[in-house]
Symmetry: C2
Subunit: 154 residues, 2 copies
Amino acid sequence: MARHAENQNWKLVASDLEDLIGYNLKRAYVIVRADFREALGDDGMSARVFSALSLAVEFPNITQSELARMMGIERSGLVSIVDELEQRGFLNRVAVPGDRRVQALVPTQEGRFACVEALKAVRAHEDALLDVMTAKEKETLLKLLKKIRMRGEG
Amino acid sequence: MARHAENQNWKLVASDLEDLIGYNLKRAYVIVRADFREALGDDGMSARVFSALSLAVEFPNITQSELARMMGIERSGLVSIVDELEQRGFLNRVAVPGDRRVQALVPTQEGRFACVEALKAVRAHEDALLDVMTAKEKETLLKLLKKIRMRGEG
DNA sequence: TATTGTTATACTCTATAACTATA
DNA sequence: TATAGTTATAGAGTATAACAATA
């Protein structure tokens, strides 16, 4: 059976995948994700660990619950991430006087340094990957992605 | 310790996550993915199953290896996807005369119908989610995402 | 030798539910 | 009752490596 099917339904489908924002978003994300991994190397931080470290550096003394909320994941999922960051010596869980339930995440000097170095590497890789785009285009892309985020993250 | 740390490293980090294309891509993708799942309901197809069906409908008689290549995943990963589509009655594995290794993927009438219906639902949801963007902006976003894809899928 | 489909296996990311210790 | 951190567990999604059948 060739493309001239009995009904015309296939016409509504043909290549319409290519017009979906979601499909293109995923395909592009997969590429940038692979680039990210290459940037930080085989024993480098994963994207989520790097994100957690970045936010912990940006907001020192943040709690795990706050950080999870900020990252859009569950509290429970953050435990292993913080475990890894602590094992790498990039931050410490520190008791907070006044509320013995919470533990503040305090980045170490080494953690701040590693964060900056990782960011440099990721930026360099991203710049190389996206050298087909102009600065203006990248800015536009960022703006549009943030528009989607604003819609979904409220 | 407040933000005026001993060194100025934090300044290079603060909120720089927000300027990375990769980070924004992922955050936006997570939102659109959740929207997709909602569009197709609890017992609906997953994104990858829907993608496979769409491509099988668009390219009838495609082989699994070709489809996997097209989707950017491994052959082995496609087996369970095609299993599910066959169980749902959306396509059939059909022997190909001339090469007994390959099995052509032939969508059923029901499969083509389901594909169109799913696409309508996904489109409607995507339109509602992205109603904060103009048609022009969506077009621009698609163009820029495809630019990244061209770079990585080249 | 190379390719197609397949199985087995493992790893990453994430969610849910329940637990503990606090509040 | 509610919250913070934790554990156990399960489910997607994907990759790698090997295999049998076929080319």
